[in-house]
Symmetry: C2
Subunit: 506 residues, 2 copies
């Protein structure tokens, strides 16, 4: 899209601008148009692509400006460059700049507009006219909004939406990397149904949530032990504990704040800890036997953030704003300290699709080469683990990273080709489908940039992560191997040991 900007603004000074200042103002305008506004503009830019003051007028203590631009020295940048000059000019007349009122701000985008484009509903956009060829936006913005680059961000957002509509269909990239080939199948049922039947798990009282009995946990811990031995110890990952309640600030920096909202469990805090403030809530429950949800809603602040969604963003404040010494890189970490939560679609699902789940999250950072090398080593270790230890029927595929999709970078142009996600999928005989049961991502400089982490050399800092979902490992394993431990790979059976049958119900 070709973009044009136009603004008018009133610069209000501390006193009347005298007639004898007009000449100096005119000179400042001419200097700005011919010199200041040209700085940093690429050679060959057309005259009307560059910001320029097209009109000005003095009235009382106000200097009114009209500025137009294309993509270079955009009108708000021009305004602030001019401000610097004019305050010096009128300072000589003992006048100080008191305020800037933006009286009009227009953006025109020209180019093919895809059908279905929805102009964002934002407080800054006072009107929008969309045709097949143009988008005209009128903004209501303050000088502070302009300093915060609101117009640029609005243009970027509209362009992303156009891109998503134009290339959206082609965006779902899926490229097979490896296939284990068919393995012997011992079971044809739905493992969740069988686990329920055997009393291994029971549905808990919230949506997509299970209570795991001893037998299920034995399998979880067997997998965890295998991961410890084959991945964590072999490749030298060190345990840390990442927080599980995620405040907005973390998702603002990690980029999740761009689009993660439909799947979040949100967290709110009490407006106060004063027991007297909460007494009526307890009283209502004591008298009715029901918790008064609407009453509580009025008594909480927030949401302040949400429950752990991706597991690694919470790590980054540990290194935020720091420069890492080269000799401590790569850093290889993992966390297994708590639950992750996703608001999944309703309906009946098994443990392969849950709202509350348990994941070992692996995280590493270093130079781009170190990060790619660690990813390669992980892939090799996983391959050995799934082929030799768990004997699974699986495949892996390179897919478009979620954040690229969410950030509208759908065609991946210009992104280093090693950046991206590899999904590991296991075959589920009972549903003749493939389940994504874990992944490995090379995230480039996304997180280090978001959290302002640098490396000693001054070169790029990269990171990667890999999530091992215990529910999905269990779903995949049981779907293929079934419940007769004689059909299980020896090492898994040995680690599980005697299955514990603790509960007997009448």
């Amino acid at each position: 899209m070709f973009v044009r900007f136009a603004l008018t603004a009133d610069l209000q000074f501390s006193g009347e601008i005298p007639a004898e200042a007009a000449e100096a103002v005119e000179k400042t305008v001419t200097d700005s148009n011919t010199v200041m506004f040209r700085r940093g503009v690429p050679k060959g830019a057309a005259e009307d692509e560059i910001g320029r003051i097209t009109d000005w007028k003095i009235e009382g203590n106000t200097l009114s400006l009209a500025i137009e631009s294309g993509p270079y020295t955009r009108v708000h940048d021009a305004l602030f460059r001019f401000r610097k000059q004019i305050t010096a000019t009128l300072g000589r007349f003992r006048l100080g700049l008191r305020d800037i009122l933006v009286t009009r701000y227009e953006i025109t985008l020209t180019g093919p507009v895809p059908e279905g484009l929805k102009i964002p509903t934002l407080p800054f956009i006072s009107s929008a006219v969309v045709t097949a060829e143009t988008i005209e936006l009128s903004l209501q913005v303050s000088a502070t909004d302009l300093e915060q680059k609101i117009p640029d961000r609005i243009v970027k957002l509209v362009e992303e939406k156009i891109e998503a509509l134009t290339y959206g269909g082609k965006g779902e990239h899926w490229e097979l990397l490896y296939e284990s080939g068919k393995k012997e199948r011992f079971f044809n049922g739905d493992p969740t149904a069988e686990m329920i039947e055997r009393g291994w798990i029971k549905h808990a009282l919230s949506r997509g949530q299970w209570i795991h009995g001893p037998q299920s946990v034995q399998l979880f811990r067997a997998f965890e032990q295998i991961v410890m031995e084959e991945i964590i110890k072999t490749l030298g990952f060190t345990e840390m504990i990442f927080p599980k309640l995620v405040p907005w600030e973390v998702w603002e920096k990690s980029g999740h704040a761009k689009g993660v909202y439909p799947e979040i469990y949100y967290v709110c805090t009490p407006k106060t800890r004063d027991p007297a403030y909460w007494e009526e809530v307890g009283d209502y429950f004591k008298v009715t036997g029901e918790v008064p949800v609407e009453m509580i809603r009025e008594k909480v602040d927030g949401p302040i953030g949400g429950l752990c969604y991706a597991q690694c963003p919470s790590f980054w404040p540990f290194v935020q704003g720091q420069t890492l010494a080269s000799d401590c890189l790569p850093i290889r970490l993992f966390d297994r300290s708590g639950t992750s939560h996703r608001y999944e679609s309703g309906g009946i699902h098994g443990i392969e699709r849950v709202d509350e789940f348990h994941r070992i999250e692996i995280l590493w950072l270093g130079t781009p080469e170190q990060v790619v090398e660690t990813a390669d080593k992980l892939h090799a270790a996983y391959k050995h683990l799934f082929d030799e230890v768990l004997d699974l029927e699986w495949r892996s595929a390179k897919v478009t990273p979620w954040f690229m999709a969410q950030e509208g970078m759908l065609d991946g142009e210009g992104v280093n080709e090693r950046i991206g996600t590899t999904d590991y999928e296991a075959y589920l005989p009972y549903s003749d489908s493939w389940l994504e049961f874990q992944n490995v991502s090379v995230n480039g400089d996304k997180y280090p940039k978001g959290f302002n982490v640098k490396v000693q050399t001054g070169k790029d800092c990269w990171s990667g992560c890999s999530g091992i979902g215990l529910e999905r490992w269990t779903a995949s394993f049981l779907a293929q191997k079934g419940f007769d431990m004689n059909n299980w790979p020896e090492r898994v059976a040995a680690l599980v040991g005697q299955q514990k049958e603790l509960f007997r119900f009448l």
Copy 2:
């Protein structure tokens, strides 16, 4: 308090009540007053303590009643007993009962009213008059409210509040059980400050929340390993996974819904997963760099519950409504699958007082004898562990269980004396104070009753729980032993091993 009730109600029938029915109605009233309402009333109850119809009148299709009572066959119970009789009586006149309108409902409590009594603000209470000797409540209630025993619960609630005001000061029971005696102290500083200084932990971005680096986690895992060996394996506890998001239903049944509100992190869910519904939220962030909290607030439902507070309530739906075979008891379990969260008071605290923490929760159930026996074994194992393995300066004390305090059972009358909580406290040299670093509770039939769990014999099912807080163990241990591993007990030092210094910052 002595309690009196009075109600008037209109019973509306399907047609006009004929004059010839009056005699039958009178007989039903007399029968009710002299026979029906006396059933179940203790001998020796005074005449005016028992429910009786004091007046009645027929007008059109309506039978109006006035009923009064003391504590026996309370007016609403009398009303429903009478309903059964009168529908039979007037059925013979081909009249069916269509509706019951409660036109007046009064409760009078007589007895000393403590100063400061706050009558609960509840939708059912339309007015209240309180003097030094009486409380008069007028209720606005439907027949359904009466069937749900709302008046009884209001009386109980007011009595609890009176009791809390009267006995509140004496309620905080603390009784020393054991003292280890003074131990050699190696450190006089605040362990949190020292951990920060050494880069073991860093404050995370939410309140009372820390990111634990490798060295801190090594200590956590050393403690966990010791707990596994000394407690879990020795006494035969089996691992389960309890959910960490707690919906209201769990806290309604566990009793936490009575008063846990000031300290809860509440959880809300998206009104829908439709990405279009959430687009404006992401757009706003993309343009401003800030998450629009108020906009999100309008787009979420709930709160549906909160984050794990006590760790054991979430277990109980696993056995809810079941009868346990005697030969599987006692059942001994533990969970270490995720974080607990408490909205603590603000200000600066160390890791001894955090909003997000990590706890190994031990839970057992069985007959009262089995539950007490397990508690005794746990106490012995903890004593050995703190005296011999960790070599701590500690003490234990029996304290009033939280739920007894919350339920107004402050004087503990009639409660089996083994029910209650034992707190374990460690001495903190740097603040010359004692830190409650873990507990053991015998909860009686509280949870089995709340979740309707029975045992084969038909006798009481009891349960107990014990929370091992890793942050508090760490705070206690480091406060006494300091950071020089030469001063640490051998087994802890061996389990921690070489401290991992992964990060080097410039």
